[in-house]
C-alpha cells in the first residue's frame, strides 16, 4: 500500500501518531543528549535512538517495561516524562522540557502501540513509487511531480495558483538553467512556438547550451569549497581551475551523476585511469591548506583528512559528520569510530600537512597535465636514455672482460680528459669540489655554539680535529647546488651521540616543511641514516634508508653517492667503505631539486628542523661525480690522504686481486676510460633534457592512492596528537553495510555511495536540484538529512525522484527536465491571501518561489544585456573590478577579461570578491550546500554604484540608442524588453521617460559630470552616439539594475 507519510496526514480527522515524523524528533531533541548514540554521555545504558528491546526491557529502578504498547501508565518512559519529582525526564537541570501537547502526543503514540521505525532517510529508497490517486478536475497535472504536489495540497485544502505569465516563465527558465536571460530575438522566436511544446522545446534548448554547465558548476563549486588560493593566513594562489572546467564539461555532457561523483571520489582508482579520470579527484584536495611557519605538519594533515571526510558526508550523504570527529554523534547513529573509519578512506595518499612556503611546488600527490607535444618528446627522450644506459652497462661489461688497466702503459699517451693516475694532482681527489677539515691549530669563531673536539676515528691518533655540533648553528659550505641529472657524492666522518629519532646531518635545502624539503639531505631518522633527493616531500622524491640503526658513540665513515638517474636505485649509502643495506622509502622524482634557497650544503642544523645536536663530524668532502667503490674504501681509511688512492689503484691494477674485478672495472670506467666517460656525459645531457622538459610540465593536485595502506587511527577527542587504536576503512553500518565484494578503498566507497541500496545519495542529489529550481529543497535542511534536520515536506515525491534518478542511470538533465516541465514549477509566484495564510512558508508549493537571483546570475545578466558578456568557456580565473575593493586588494584585469562570467572570477578564499559576497555567495572555506538569501543596503550600493553595473548600464544604453536613435520611448521600451523580456506598461514608460528627460537635461548642463560618468570602466560608448542622451539612458538602465523584477525571481 502506498503510504504518503507527511504532515498532510495531520489534517485528517482520525490519524495515527507517526513515530518518525512526530515522536522521533521529540526524542532526538530532548532525550538523545543522554540517551542517544553518544556512548560517552549515555545514561542508564538506555538508547532511545535505536528502539531495540525497549518493548521487552524493564527499567532497573521500577521493574516496569520501558514501553508497554497500548499502556502508557505501564510504560516507564511515559511515567518519567510526567513525573514531577526527582524522577522527572528530561531532568530539570538539563534545561530541556516537554510541553503538555508533546506529552499528550507521546501518550497517544504509546496507546496506539508505540511502533518504532527507522529514521526516514535511512530507510531504503522504495522502487517504483506509485503515484498518488488524485482528483484533478482542472487538468492541472502535467507530469508525475504534479500528482504528488496536488495530492498533498488537496489534503491541506489548498490549490495551486495560476501559471506564470509567458515572459516570466521564459525568463525564469533561462536564469534558472543557464544564468543569463533570453535575448529579444529569443523571446520573439519562442513566442511563435505553440504551447505546451514551447516549454519542452525551451528546456531542451537550454539543457543543450554550454552555459548550462556553467550554471550547474557554480553550485557544485560551493559544495566542493573551490578556491583559486590555498586559504588560511597566507592564502597563496594555486592552480586548480582545470578541475572547474572539468565540472562544467561533465554537466554539459550530461555525465551520469554516479560517474560524476565516482570520478571525483576515486577517479584515480578506475582501471587504467586516464588523466581525465584522475583530474576530477582534485575535488579531494580543494580544502584550505596551510603554510604558516611553525605549524605542526601532522595537525594540518589531519585537518585535511577531516575536511575531505566531512565534505564527502555533506556533499553525497547530506549528513553532518563534524560532531563525530570529537565524540559520538549526539543525534545521528554515526559513531566516532564510524567517523575515523571513514577518514581512513581519505587518508591514504602521499601528502604533507603543509605546502611549501619557499618554493612553488604543487603539493603531492599530483598529476601532470597532458601536452601532446611534450608527451611525445618525453617518450622519445626516455627511450634514448634507456638505450644509453644499456650501452653503458655493456661497456662496463666489456671493460671487465678486457681489463684495460693491464695495458695502461700503452694508453698513457692518450689525451683524453681522463688521463692515467700520474696526471691527477696528488693532493686533490678527482671531482672533489670541497673539503672541510680542521687541522690541529684550527679554531672556531668565539661566538660559535659549535666546538672543536679531538677526532679519533681509530686507535691511531689523527692530526685533525672534529666539530661537535650544537644543533642550532649550521656549518656552511659554499658548494652543492647539484641538479638532479648530475651525479654527485659526499663523504664524512660522523659520530652519533645517542639514538636519535630525527637529526639533520647534512643537507642542501632552505627548510623542512617550509620548503617541502626541496633539495637533498642526509638525515638520521629512527636511528637510521636516510638519504633523499626531494622536489616536494613526500610525494615527489627519491629516498633510501638504512635497514640497521647507525652505531652510536663511535666514529664511522659515511659516503653517499648519486648517479644522476632520478631513481632510488641510483642512491647509495656506504659505511666504513662498504655499501650498506637500505630500503627504498620513496621512488618518484619528476621535478627539480634546486631552487627555494639554501643552495649550498649545510651541516648539523636546518630552519625549523631538528639539528644534529651533540653529533660530531670531520673531514667532509663533496664530489661532483659518482665515486667509485674503490675510492670510497680509500676515503674510509682513518688517516686517508689522496696519495693513498693512487697507491691503492696501482696495487689493485698490479695484483688484480686486492679488490673485486667489479670494483676495479667500475673505478676504471668512472675515472679513466676514454670511451665510457663521454658516453656517461651524453647520458647526463639526455637526462638534463628530460629534466628540463619535466620541469616545464604543469601539475595539479589530485588524489592518488598509495600502493600500501597507511595506518589510520582513531583520534581521542579529535586531537591530531592523540591517535589510539588503528582503524581500517569502513562505512557507517547504520546507513548500509559495505558489501563484502566491494574494494576497501575510495573506489569501494564510491560504489557504496551510488549503490541502489544506499538510502541517501539519490535523495540528497535530487533534493539539491529541487532547491535550485524551487528555491527550497523538499528537505529544507539539505545539509542535514539526519535526526536533527527537517523531514521532507513530500517524502513520496522525494523517493519518486530519487528512484527515477537511479533508474534513469543517474541522468541529471532528465531529472531537471522533469522538474521544469511540471505545472508546479510553472506556477506564478503570486497566490491569494487565504493560501498565503495557510501556507506561509510555501511548504506545499502552492506557488513558485520568489527569491533574489544568485550572485553570479545577477552580475552575468547585467553583462549579458549590456552585450559585454564574454562567452569564453575555460581557463584561468579573471579579476574583475571589484577585486580592487577586496579585503586584500588585487590588481584587476582589462577587457574582455572583466566581462567573463562570474564563475571565472578569481576566488581568493580569505578575501573573496566583495561583490559576490555582498550578493550572498559563500566564502567556500567549507562545503556549503545552501546559500543564505538576504537583502541588505550593501547590495543596493553594488547595483547602483559599482563600476561593473554602471558600465553595463552604459553599454546597454548605447545598444538601445543604436537600435532606436530617434524615439526615446522606443529606446526605453527596448531597454525594458532586454532586461525583463516584456513590454513596459504605459505608467512605467512614463516614469522612465521622465527620469530620462531630467537626467538628459542635467547632463547637458554639466558636461563634466557627463564625461566622468561615461568614463567609468573600460567600456566607451561608440563615438558616433550623442553622449548626453546615451548618458541619460544609462542612468535609467542603472536605475533598473536595482529593480525588483530584475534582481528577483518572479
Amino acid at each position: 500500500m502506498f503510504v504518503n507519510r507527511t504532515l498532510a496526514q495531520e489534517s485528517a480527522e482520525i490519524r495515527q501518531v507517526d513515530f518518525d515524523s512526530q515522536i522521533r524528533p521529540l526524542l532526538s531533541d530532548r532525550c538523545y543528549t543522554c540517551h542517544g548514540p553518544d556512548e560517552a554521555t549515555l545514561e542508564a545504558d538506555l538508547r532511545l535512538d535505536l528502539g531495540i528491546g525497549l518493548h521487552e526491557r524493564a527499567a532497573a529502578s521500577s521493574g516496569r517495561l520501558i514501553l508497554s504498547p497500548g499502556e502508557p501508565s505501564a510504560s516507564e518512559l511515559f511515567l518519567r516524562v510526567i513525573a514531577t519529582d526527582g524522577e522527572q525526564m528530561p531532568p530539570p537541570e538539563s534545561g530541556l522540557q516537554l510541553s503538555a501537547d508533546e506529552i499528550a502526543l507521546i501518550k497517544r503514540w504509546i496507546e496506539e502501540g508505540a511502533t518504532w521505525d527507522r529514521h526516514w532517510s535511512f530507510e531504503p529508497i522504495p522502487a517504483d513509487v506509485p503515484l498518488p490517486d488524485v482528483a484533478d478536475t482542472n487538468a492541472w497535472i502535467q507530469n508525475p511531480i504534479d500528482s504528488f504536489i496536488l495530492h498533498a495540497m488537496q489534503q491541506q485544502g489548498l490549490q495551486p495558483t495560476i501559471a506564470a505569465s509567458d515572459h516570466q516563465l521564459l525568463r525564469r527558465m533561462y536564469l534558472d538553467l543557464i544564468g543569463v536571460p533570453p535575448t529579444m530575438d529569443e523571446v520573439a522566436k519562442w513566442s511563435n512556438v505553440p504551447k505546451p511544446e514551447r516549454w519542452s522545446n525551451v528546456v531542451d534548448h537550454l539543457l543543450a547550451r554550454p552555459e548550462y554547465g556553467q550554471r550547474m558548476a557554480s553550485d557544485w563549486l560551493d559544495v566542493a569549497r573551490y578556491s583559486d588560493t590555498y586559504g588560511y593566513q597566507v592564502d597563496r594562489e594555486r592552480f586548480v581551475w582545470p578541475w572547474r572546467d572539468w565540472v562544467v564539461r561533465a554537466f554539459n555532457y550530461n555525465m551520469p551523476f554516479d560517474r560524476f561523483g565516482t570520478l571525483q571520489l576515486a577517479g584515480d582508482l578506475q582501471p587504467n585511469a586516464s588523466f581525465n579520470e584522475i583530474l576530477p579527484t582534485t575535488f579531494g584536495r580543494l580544502h584550505p591548506q596551510e603554510v604558516e611557519g611553525g605549524s605542526v605538519e601532522e595537525e594540518f594533515r589531519m585537518k585535511y583528512i577531516s575536511d575531505r571526510t566531512e565534505t564527502y558526508g555533506m556533499a553525497f550523504l547530506g549528513l553532518t559528520f563534524e560532531c563525530s570527529r570529537c565524540h559520538n554523534h549526539k543525534y545521528d547513529p554515526i559513531s566516532q569510530t564510524d567517523y575515523y573509519r571513514l577518514t581512513a578512506f581519505f587518508d591514504n595518499i602521499d601528502e604533507a600537512g603543509l605546502y611549501s612556503y619557499f618554493t612553488d611546488s604543487v603539493p603531492t600527490p599530483t598529476a601532470v597535465l597532458p601536452n601532446e607535444d611534450l608527451d611525445s618528446k618525453t617518450a622519445e627522450l626516455r627511450e634514448q636514455i634507456v638505450a644509453q644506459e644499456k650501452g653503458l652497462r655493456e661497456q662496463l661489461q666489456e671493460i671487465q672482460q678486457s681489463r684495460p688497466w693491464l695495458q695502461r702503459e700503452d694508453s698513457s699517451a692518450d689525451a683524453s680528459p681522463t688521463s692515467p693516475p700520474q696526471a691527477v694532482e696528488p693532493t686533490v681527489l678527482d671531482g672533489q669540489i670541497a673539503h672541510l677539515t680542521y687541522g690541529p691549530e684550527a679554531k672556531l669563531p668565539e661566538t660559535s655554539e659549535n666546538r672543536l673536539v679531538p677526532f679519533q676515528p681509530a686507535a691511531s691518533i689523527v692530526d685533525r680535529q672534529a666539530v661537535e655540533l650544537s644543533g642550532d648553528e649550521a656549518i656552511k659550505l659554499d658548494v652543492g647546488n647539484f641538479r638532479r641529472w648530475q651525479p654527485f657524492s659526499f663523504s664524512l666522518w660522523m659520530w652519533v651521540p645517542k639514538p636519535m629519532a630525527r637529526a639533520v646531518v647534512l643537507h642542501r635545502s632552505q627548510a623542512w616543511t617550509d620548503a617541502g624539503s626541496r633539495g637533498y639531505e642526509l638525515l638520521i631518522e629512527n636511528e637510521r641514516l636516510k638519504f633523499s633527493l626531494i622536489h616536494f616531500w613526500p610525494g615527489n622524491a627519491i629516498s633510501i634508508r638504512a635497514i640497521s640503526p647507525a652505531p652510536i658513540e663511535q666514529w664511522m665513515h659515511v659516503t653517499v653517492t648519486y648517479d644522476g638517474s632520478s631513481r632510488a636505485d641510483g642512491l647509495a649509502i656506504f659505511m666504513d667503505g662498504k655499501r650498506i643495506e637500505t630500503e627504498t622509502v620513496r621512488d618518484k622524482l619528476t621535478k627539480q631539486i634546486t631552487g627555494g634557497g639554501g643552495d649550498h650544503i649545510s651541516l648539523g642544523e636546518r630552519f625549523r628542523d631538528q639539528g644534529f645536536t651533540g653529533g660530531r663530524v670531520a673531514e667532509v668532502r663533496v664530489f661532483s661525480r659518482q665515486l667509485s667503490a674503490l675510492t670510497i674504501r680509500s676515503l674510509a681509511e682513518p688517516n686517508f690522504v689522496p696519495e693513498q688512492l693512487a697507491e691503492k689503484r696501482n696495487a689493485a691494477w698490479a695484483t688484480d686481486s686486492v679488490v673485486s674485478m667489479d670494483e676495479i672495472a667500475e673505478d676504471w670506467a668512472l675515472h679513466f676510460s676514454a670511451d665510457y666517460q663521454p658516453e656517461l656525459k651524453k647520458l647526463e645531457q639526455s637526462r638534463e633534457q628530460l629534466g628540463n622538459l619535466q620541469d616545464q610540465r604543469q601539475e595539479i593536485m589530485v588524489m592518488q592512492e598509495l600502493p600500501t595502506r597507511k595506518p589510520s587511527f582513531f583520534r581521542e577527542r579529535g586531537n591530531y596528537d592523540a591517535p589510539t587504536v588503528e582503524v581500517s576503512p569502513g562505512v557507517p553500518d547504520s546507513i548500509f553495510p559495505l558489501p563484502a565484494d566491494f574494494p576497501n578503498n575510495r573506489a569501494g566507497l564510491a560504489r557504496w555511495t551510488f549503490d541502489r541500496r544506499n538510502p541517501l545519495t539519490a535523495r540528497v542529489a535530487v533534493n539539491r536540484w529541487w532547491q535550485m529550481l524551487f528555491g527550497e529543497g523538499l528537505v529544507r535542511t539539505p545539509e542535514d538529512f539526519g535526526n536533527q534536520g527537517q523531514r521532507p515536506t513530500h517524502s513520496a515525491l522525494l523517493d519518486y525522484l530519487a528512484d527515477q534518478l537511479i533508474d534513469s542511470g543517474w541522468d541529471v538533465k532528465r531529472t531537471l527536465r522533469l522538474m521544469l516541465l511540471s505545472a508546479t514549477y510553472q506556477q506564478s509566484v503570486v497566490a491569494d491571501v487565504q493560501t498565503l495564510e495557510a501556507d506561509p512558508e510555501n511548504r506545499w508549493w502552492t506557488r513558485a518561489s520568489s527569491h533574489r537571483w544568485p550572485a553570479e546570475t545577477l552580475r552575468d545578466q547585467a553583462l549579458a544585456v549590456a552585450g559585454l558578456l564574454d562567452g569564453k568557456m575555460d581557463g584561468a580565473p579573471v579579476k574583475p573590478y571589484d577585486l580592487a575593493e577586496a579585503f586584500a586588494p588585487l590588481p584587476t584585469d582589462g577587457g574582455p577579461l572583466v566581462y567573463r562570467r562570474s564563475l571565472y572570477t578569481y576566488w581568493k578564499r580569505m578575501s573573496p570578491s566583495p561583490v559576490m559576497i555582498a550578493l550572498d555567495a559563500v566564502k567556500r572555506d567549507v562545503c556549503q550546500v545552501k546559500r543564505e538569501r538576504t537583502t541588505t543596503p550593501a547590495q543596493s550600493l553594488v547595483f547602483l554604484n559599482s563600476p561593473q553595473f554602471v558600465e553595463a548600464s552604459r553599454a546597454l544604453a548605447a545598444r538601445c540608442w543604436q537600435n532606436q536613435p530617434t524615439d526615446v520611448q522606443q529606446a526605453l521600451t527596448i531597454m525594458v524588453q532586454e532586461m525583463l523580456s516584456r513590454d513596459p506598461s504605459p505608467r512605467e514608460l512614463e516614469t522612465l521617460t521622465q527620469l530620462y528627460q531630467e537626467q538628459r537635461q542635467r547632463f547637458e548642463q554639466s558636461p563634466d559630470r557627463l564625461q566622468a560618468y561615461l568614463n567609468i570602466g573600460h567600456y566607451r560608448i561608440p563615438s558616433e552616439l550623442p553622449p548626453a542622451p546615451v548618458g541619460a539612458l544609462a542612468v535609467v538602465a542603472n536605475t533598473l539594475m536595482g529593480l525588483d523584477q530584475w534582481t528577483t525571481r518572479r
Binding site: 605549524s295 605542526v296 536533527q788 506561509p840 550600493l941
Partner: protein, 482 residues
C-alpha cells in the same frame, strides 16, 4: 477555474483592500517565504531575536581593541622579576610539563629564560602593575581590570584569532559581534550595528573577513568592515558623474516603478527591498558624517595624539569608535596587527605601544568625558600570550618570545567592569596560571552577561544542533563585575 478563483480572491481585490491592509492583515514574517523573513530593516530600531534581555544590562555596547599577533604579557602586565634573576637559565622541566611547543621553537635544543627589558611599577590607587611601555594606559589604571590569567587552546594565529572571535578554532562560526547583532538588533537605522576597523598599513599575520563574519547566522549579521580609503563601505560613494540629486531622482523613479509593481502583483517583499535602497542612500550620508572629525574640538583630538587625523590609523579608529558608539552602534571592533614578536621583541613592542598606548587610554578618557564609559565595555587583548623563554638565540639585549597559550593578559574597562582590579595570577616563571584561570569562553560568557544576556540562552539552531558563542562551555566571572 483556478484562474477565476485567483482573480476573485486576489488579483483585483487589491483595489478594495489596499496593499498596506493586505500586508498588515497577513503580518510580516508569517506572510513570506522563509527567506524574506530576514528582509526587515529600516525601522528606527531593528529588533534582535531576544524580545527582552535576560537581566539588566550594565553595558549597552562593546568596543573591542583587538591586538592581533599576541602582545607579550611579560613586557606589559605580568611582572616577573624572577625571569630577570634567572636570565639565560633553562626553563625547568618541572615548570614546562608536557606543554606542546610550536614548530618554531619546539626543535630548539635550549630554552633560556628571559626577563622583561622594561621596568614595571605600580599605578593608581589600586597599585596595578604595568610596565613603563604603557604610560597612558597606566594613568587609567583605576578604571581597568587587568586579567593576567587568560588562557586559550590554540598555538597558532589563524586558529587563535578565530577562537577569540568566534569561540571556536574552526572557521565557520559566527563572531561575537554577529551574535550580538543577532540577539539585540540595531539601534540606529542609518548605521550598521557591528562595525570593524583594521589599522591600515600594518604587517604581521593577515586577517580574514570571516573573523567578523556571521558564520552560519544570516549574512546580514556580518560585521561591516570600514575601510581606511575613500570608501568606508564597498561602493559607498556615488559613481563619478552622479550627484545626490540624480540619485534621489533614480530612487524616486525606482520607488514609483516598484509601487506600481506592488499594486499590480501584491508582491509582499517589495517594500523591504525599496527600504534597503533607501537605507543605502541614508548611509551614503550617515557614514561620511560619522567618519568626519571636523566637528571634534582640538582638545579631544589632542587626547588621541597626532596620528588621529591620519584616517585608518589606530588613533583615528579609536576616535571613530567613540563616534560610532555615540550613534548607537553596538559592537565596534578594532584590529591592530603586528604584535608577533618572535625576535627583536624589545624594539618591536616599543613601537607597537607607541602606536596604541595613547589612543587606547584616550578612548577611555573620552568615553568618560562623554559619560559613556559606564555603559560601554572596552576590551583590550590579543589571541594568546608569549613564552617566558627566548625563541632563538639570547643575544645581549635582544630577544624574542614564542606563542604561549597557557597564560596571557588582557584588560577590560567600563560597562560594569570593576575598575582598579587585577584578576588572576601566574606562577613566578610566568608560565602557568596558579589562581583564577579565565578561559576565552569565560570571557565571552562574562561579556554577554554584562550586556544583559545569559550566554547559554542566546542560541541558533544550525545543522541539527543549537549553537552558541560559548559552545558548551563558559563560566561567568563575577569577581570582575562591579
Amino acid at each position: 477555474m483556478l484562474r477565476r478563483n485567483f482573480l476573485a480572491n486576489f488579483g483585483y481585490g487589491l483595489g478594495a483592500m489596499g496593499l498596506s491592509e493586505c500586508l498588515g492583515a497577513v503580518g510580516s514574517g508569517a506572510f513570506q517565504d522563509s527567506t524574506s523573513v530576514q528582509e526587515t530593516t529600516g525601522n528606527p530600531k531593528t529588533p534582535g531575536v531576544l524580545t527582552s534581555l535576560h537581566h539588566v544590562a550594565k553595558a549597552k555596547r562593546v568596543i573591542f581593541l583587538f591586538q592581533s599577533g599576541a602582545p607579550s604579557q611579560l613586557e606589559l602586565f605580568d611582572h616577573k622579576p624572577l625571569l630577570k634573576e634567572r636570565q639565560g637559565e633553562q626553563l625547568p622541566d618541572s615548570v614546562r610539563g608536557q606543554q606542546r611547543l610550536t614548530g618554531m621553537s619546539g626543535n630548539q635544543s635550549s630554552l633560556p629564560l628571559v626577563g622583561s627589558a622594561f621596568d614595571f611599577a605600580q599605578h593608581g590607587q589600586s597599585g596595578t602593575w604595568m610596565s613603563n611601555l604603557l604610560p597612558h594606559t597606566a594613568a587609567m589604571a583605576d578604571d581597568l581590570c587587568v586579567v593576567r590569567s587568560m588562557y586559550t587552546e590554540s598555538i597558532n594565529h589563524g586558529p587563535g584569532v578565530t577562537f577569540f572571535q568566534t569561540g571556536s578554532q574552526l572557521p565557520g562560526r559566527p563572531s561575537m559581534g554577529a551574535w550580538l547583532d543577532y540577539g539585540l538588533g540595531s539601534e540606529n537605522a542609518n548605521l550598521p550595528s557591528y562595525v570593524v576597523m583594521v589599522t591600515k598599513n600594518k604587517g604581521g599575520q593577515p586577517l580574514s573577513a570571516r573573523l567578523w563574519g556571521s558564520g552560519f547566522l544570516p549574512a546580514r549579521h556580518d560585521g561591516v568592515l570600514f575601510r581606511s580609503g575613500a570608501d568606508p563601505l564597498l561602493y559607498l560613494n556615488l559613481p563619478a558623474g552622479i550627484d545626490v540629486t540624480s540619485r534621489r531622482a533614480m530612487l524616486d523613479a525606482l520607488g514609483a516603478l516598484q509601487t506600481e509593481e506592488a499594486e499590480q502583483t501584491g508582491w509582499h517583499d517589495l517594500e523591504s527591498r525599496i527600504e534597503q535602497h533607501e537605507l543605502a542612500f541614508r548611509m551614503q550620508s550617515s557614514i561620511p558624517e560619522v567618519t568626519d572629525f571636523s566637528s571634534e574640538p582640538q582638545h579631544v583630538l589632542d587626547l588621541y595624539g597626532p596620528s588621529v587625523t591620519d584616517k585608518g590609523s589606530y588613533a583615528a579608529n579609536c576616535l571613530l569608535a567613540r563616534r560610532l558608539a555615540q550613534r548607537g552602534v553596538k559592537f565596534i571592533q578594532l584590529f591592530h596587527q603586528d604584535w608577533d614578536h618572535h625576535g627583536g621583541l624589545p624594539g618591536g613592542i616599543r613601537g607597537l605601544c607607541q602606536e596604541t598606548d595613547q589612543p587606547s587610554a584616550a578612548l577611555l578618557q573620552d568615553l568618560k568625558q562623554h559619560g559613556m564609559l559606564d555603559d560601554t565595555l572596552v576590551v583590550w587583548g590579543g589571541e594568546f600570550g608569549r613564552t617566558n623563554y627566548c625563541q632563538g638565540k639570547l643575544a645581549g639585549n635582544d630577544y624574542g618570545r614564542d606563542h604561549h597559550p597557557r597564560c596571557f593578559s588582557i584588560w577590560m574597562a567600563g560597562g560594569g567592569i570593576r575598575g582598579g582590579t587585577t584578576y588572576g595570577e601566574t606562577d613566578e616563571y610566568g608560565y602557568n596560571i596558579v589562581q583564577n584561570p579565565m578561559h576565552i569562553h569565560d570571557l565571552h560568557a562574562t561579556m554577554l552577561h554584562l550586556l544583559g544576556i545569559e550566554h547559554t540562552r542566546l542560541t541558533y539552531k544550525y545543522q541539527g544542533r543549537y549553537f552558541r558563542l560559548t559552545d558548551v562551555h563558559g563560566r561567568l566571572i563575577r569577581d570582575i563585575i562591579a
